[in-house]
């Protein structure tokens, strides 16, 4: 590992029952890099992101942040690493603005930037899938997360939303971004380094 590497996994293994998804995986992500995880269904892209975000416990291996082994399931880890994954959800009683206020302060700017300026006072269940995806992306703007883990961030977005996503990724050069996708176009447009996972 060199000095610029911010996030890494070492010997990471994860199985669901008899099915081995990740086996002894070694990967590292440099500070300020943008990496796209690609590969067929079942190759472990989402599982890797979930392990990095602390949403799924690893069977064997380590997750390293700043070169040190860390506990991805601790609130301290979550304070630096944001995972917008396939299980993203909202508290039923709170509005979109409330959720953003729980994370940071610059909420109006984030809502405006993401194109949801007029919808901040709506509860998330009342939004469309695309609007909810945009609201999830707004979370990335209200706190200076060091690492962003995004599982198929282009999901549910219209063309304008995908353009916005590309712009956001371009503006995240001070962060380490890892996203899983099946869109070759998104990989090309974001200029992301491609890491292809194969089914075990």
């Amino acid at each position: 590992m060199n000095g610029s590497e911010l996030l890494a996994v070492r010997g990471l293994s994860k199985a669901f029952g008899e099915h081995q998804v990740l086996a002894g995986l070694d990967l590292s992500f440099a500070a300020g890099s943008v990496t796209a995880l690609t590969g067929p269904n079942g190759s472990g892209k989402s599982t890797l992101l979930r392990c990095l975000a602390g949403a799924t416990p690893v069977d064997r291996g380590d997750v390293l942040l700043d070169g040190a082994v860390c506990d991805p399931t601790s609130p301290e880890h979550w304070g630096a690493v944001l995972g917008i994954l396939d299980d993203h959800a909202w508290l039923p009683g709170l509005t979109v603005r409330d959720h953003l206020l729980l994370v940071g302060d610059d909420v109006d700017h984030a809502l405006d930037r993401i194109g949801l300026a007029g919808l901040g006072d709506r509860r998330a269940p009342s939004l469309s899938s695309g609007q909810r995806q945009r609201a999830a992306l707004a979370i990335t703007l209200v706190r200076p997360w060091r690492v962003l883990l995004l599982d198929e961030p282009e999901r549910h977005l219209d063309d304008e939303g995908v353009d916005l996503l590309v712009d956001l990724v371009a503006g995240w050069r001070d962060r380490t971004v890892v996203f899983a996708t099946h869109s070759a176009e998104l990989v090309d447009r974001t200029g992301a380094a491609r890491v292809t996972l194969d089914a075990v």
Binding site: P92, G93, D98, V103, R123, S126
Partner: protein
């Protein structure tokens, strides 16, 4: 209107009237006099109490018809309700209308019991039934259901308060009920649901069915959530745990406190009219309702790991934050009960513990099961975990009622 529809409506009116006539004999002449003897012995005005009971019964009946009955449903709305099989649905709906007529008839029985006449009751009951049915149909066509319920509830609670504490309180309570119950219409958060009462009932049934079919109770939470969505009009604390407490409490406080205020009036009136033990039991039911209303975010927090990760607050602080409103409301109710009813301390302890035990049981029921157990029912296979989850918390309330009843 087809000849079949006309025949059906005639049958409903005739059967309901017959039901009322039968119930007049059974209830109006036997049970009602006993009830009003009790009321008279305790020094309350039987006319006022009877009118209050009638208004309350009508409110319950209206609510039942609003959610179950096919009254004034347009063909489009019936289709929404009955997308599987309209004919079978209509048959079931007609049965529900007939069943809904029973509590209405009981309400009429109260009036008859007050009147104490032999032949007048039937005529009065029939006229009241027809007039009320017409009014309900008219109100429902104009989507005026909430107003009907609010006015009837205001009349019932106002009269009960008047019987217990005098006319001034009656006016205050009735006005408070109207103000807190009726609010300007605004879009519900679940936008796919047409703003129509019958469709709302269909939506509730749909979500229950969907939860069982998809083995996922998340859909139950996507129904509309009461309370304001407007921007918080004050500065928030800097620490995220306190921010979580303030935001959650602010969003839930208004509907919860409105329910608490109405519920405490009912508890006080019940205690005044029927005695302290009945008041205690009604307080336990009120606490159950308030606990469910104030712990929605707490339960969601436990289930939604994604929210925990994004907010990144220490879990224990988050639980304390999200439980704070429930604690305040519980204390409010218990202090009210302690001052008004002066029950023995074990009863107060039961009331204090009940919300937390109920919430704990709901959280436990919501935890991811290690294995899924399916229950065979006439509707198909239903995961028993979903059933347990739906009834969790109710069991604790029933236990509390049993303990309070024995104290």
């Amino acid at each position: 209107m087809t000849a079949s529809d006309k025949l059906y409506r005639f049958a409903v009116a005739w059967t309901s009237t017959a039901l009322i006539a039968g119930l007049l004999l059974a209830i109006g002449r036997q049970i009602v006099p006993d009830v009003f003897d009790l009321v008279s012995r305790t020094g309350h005005d039987p006319d006022v109490v009877g009118a209050a009971l009638l208004a309350g019964t009508l409110a319950c009946w209206w609510a039942g018809v609003r959610h179950l009955g096919p009254v004034a449903a347009s063909p489009a709305q019936q289709r929404w309700e009955a997308w599987a099989d309209p004919h079978r649905w209509q048959a079931r709906a007609r049965l529900r209308v007939l069943l809904a007529a029973v509590p209405f008839a009981i309400g009429i029985g109260y009036v008859i019991g007050l009147a104490g006449q032999d032949w007048v009751p039937g005529v009065v009951a029939g006229a009241v039934l027809l007039a009320t049915g017409a009014l309900i149909a008219l109100a429902q066509r104009r989507d005026g259901g909430p107003w009907v319920v609010a006015l009837l509830a205001a009349a019932a609670l106002g009269l009960l308060a008047g019987a217990a504490w005098g006319p001034s309180w009656a006016a205050v309570v009735a006005a408070a009920v109207v103000v807190t119950t009726v609010r300007p219409r605004r879009p519900r958060s679940y936008r796919l649901v047409p703003r129509w009462n019958l469709a709302a009932a269909a939506q509730r049934r749909w979500t229950l069915g969907a939860a069982a079919t998809m083995l996922d109770v998340e859909v139950l939470r996507t129904q509309s959530v009461p309370g304001s969505g407007r921007r918080i009009p004050f500065a928030l604390p800097a620490r995220r745990a306190r921010r979580l407490a303030v935001l959650s409490a602010w969003r839930s406080a208004r509907p919860a406190l409105a329910r608490a205020a109405v519920g405490l009036v009912i508890v006080g009136a019940v205690a005044e009219v029927l005695g302290a033990k009945a008041g205690l039991l009604s307080a336990a039911v009120l606490l159950h309702v308030l606990t469910v209303a104030t712990t929605r975010d707490l339960l969601a927090w436990h289930e939604l790991a994604a929210v925990q990760r994004v907010v990144a607050v220490d879990p224990r602080r988050a639980v304390r934050a999200l439980a704070s409103l429930c604690a305040v409301v519980t204390l409010l109710v218990v202090v009210f009960v302690a001052v008004l009813l002066t029950p023995p301390w074990p009863a107060l302890m039961v009331l204090l513990v009940q919300p937390w035990l109920g919430t704990w049981s709901r959280i436990r029921a919501a935890e991811e099961p290690e294995e899924l157990t399916m229950l065979s029912t006439p509707m198909g296979a239903v995961p028993i975990q979903v059933v347990v989850r739906l009834v969790a918390g109710v069991g604790v309330t029933i236990l509390a009622l049993a303990v309070l009843g024995s104290i």
